[in-house]
Symmetry: C2
Subunit: 335 residues, 2 copies
Amino acid sequence: MTTIQDVATRAGVAPITVSRVLNRSGYVSESTRQRVEAAAAELDYVPNLLARGLRSNRTNTLALVLTDITNPFWTTVARGVEDAARARGFSVILCNTDENEAKQEQYVDVLIRKRMDGFLLAPARSTPEPIRKIQKQADAPVVVLDRRIADAQVDLVCGDSYGGSYALTQYLLQLGHRCIGILSGPQAVSTSVERVQGCIDAMQEANIENGAEFVQFGEYTVEGGYSMMQQMLARQPHPTAIFATNNFIAIGALQHLRNVGLRVPQDISLVGFDDLPLSWNTEPFLTVAVQPAYQIGQQGADLLMDRIANSAQANPQEIVLPAELIIRQSCQPIG
Amino acid sequence: MTTIQDVATRAGVAPITVSRVLNRSGYVSESTRQRVEAAAAELDYVPNLLARGLRSNRTNTLALVLTDITNPFWTTVARGVEDAARARGFSVILCNTDENEAKQEQYVDVLIRKRMDGFLLAPARSTPEPIRKIQKQADAPVVVLDRRIADAQVDLVCGDSYGGSYALTQYLLQLGHRCIGILSGPQAVSTSVERVQGCIDAMQEANIENGAEFVQFGEYTVEGGYSMMQQMLARQPHPTAIFATNNFIAIGALQHLRNVGLRVPQDISLVGFDDLPLSWNTEPFLTVAVQPAYQIGQQGADLLMDRIANSAQANPQEIVLPAELIIRQSCQPIG
DNA sequence: TTGTATGCGTTATCAC
DNA sequence: GTGATAACGCATACAA
């Protein structure tokens, strides 16, 4: 392994001068710069980022901890983070927790030890402990993505769950639906609560008072959607429209409807939250509210890097990005 | 930030003793161990992995560079790598190149600078340069995943592309198909070549000599599958069976067939390579050859960690894991 | 079983 | 513009 010292010797300068050339910090004469660069190239010099990080207390690396890498929503968020980071010279370490609190803790521990400059965290649960731990042990800023954490003094970037589901519900109400079944994620996750609430509030404003009766709570997974749909249909009379509160739940719901021979939208209407790429459902027909996943990642990373740059502690920010209503063919008017 | 020195002072020992306790290296008396552990806990001590890595020349971290994080095949591989790594105390840094050579080079550069202990690489292209670069600059072992690289002296773990497609083809031949269209990935990738060859060889053994005429080369993507299917159908007469050489190509092919009103298997038979989780196609009916993705990741990581442990350079190994034929309902016998 | 001395490769600080 | 010196936090080598 060739070191900065080797390069310095070869170029006939002091190590610190090599450092200045490589980091473009401080003044270096043009001729010196050229000699140093030539020497580095000839020796195939590779900077040791461990040493740099140890000395400078900066690793130029962001941690991105998210809950489900198999969900296109999150891969899109990750892409936004990566692009924003690269644009400012940061690299990103991506960790997937599978919504598992223990895994999340393991990753967070390692990332703290590896001295990340900042953390982007989509919490597996809505407890503030992991955030507190980072803030206490890491002395690095944290930006939470997607999920609101009560009692945590921390920046947040998320989509407008409430507004998106409110808009979806209004759309269903306009079509004449009066009984809407909600297939929700875990009650302990803020997005679930907000999506359910947005739907119920919209119904209430239309003088539908029993909206809360048709809610099933489960997981944000295909299996969850499948079984919640099953339970929803067990009710008599069952809803005329279904609100699947995320993309995987929608797939599961569709699978069950197909199994029992109910057609969408002829027999029952269905709306979803967050989209799927063309590759997933061979016919893209689902009416959905879509969060700007890429922007959530991008703005989260930018905010985080701002915090890293000005370690001055401003008040925590909350950035809520609007969800877009995309109307396709999965709903039909009543009667 | 509290350091090993702080812990040592508090416990009334030398820093090196703290180090021994934390790393379970060397002899430490039970009473000393307890005092040190208590001190570390009270001070909320967090080891600095940058310093440790710099000093010890080991980061206990594997790099995993793959080509498409949105493909379930690769997320499964990644899971296998993660589990194997965790079992031996390694962490994993995952990087997604999107089959893009430039991105791959950027990631590899950073990973070398970060001093990974080993590299798992699914090359974006079949050139040996990236591998040579790691071997030259990093002095860390490399294990290549999934794709064979000519002229590279390097370990390889992959699925049996040739055998899998040979078996699929035999199955189609048994059903009486005599004209099989192949929708292939890029000609520059070894898996493409091998899957095509397995198919052609099986046909040749059945005395079908013109097998090579019905091959389309394209990308391993939904779009690629769609357009290759389109071109395949333009031929008159078109094949009675289609071999989609990866899961995304199969989806694209299905989409096009649906668009032109051809039913599978009534109007045309279809087989694929690698499976999709239930969440993807609402009805799992495709007959496929499946590579053991999880094992590829697991065995790749294990081999890599073996290499790291015994830096003695044995000859490069090539581990080819069998593909499994799963027969479902996407094929029909010929009249 | 524990400690001393030293150095990993780099950059911060200050001096010239 | 450039350099000398020290220090980041830890583990290796050797000594006691």
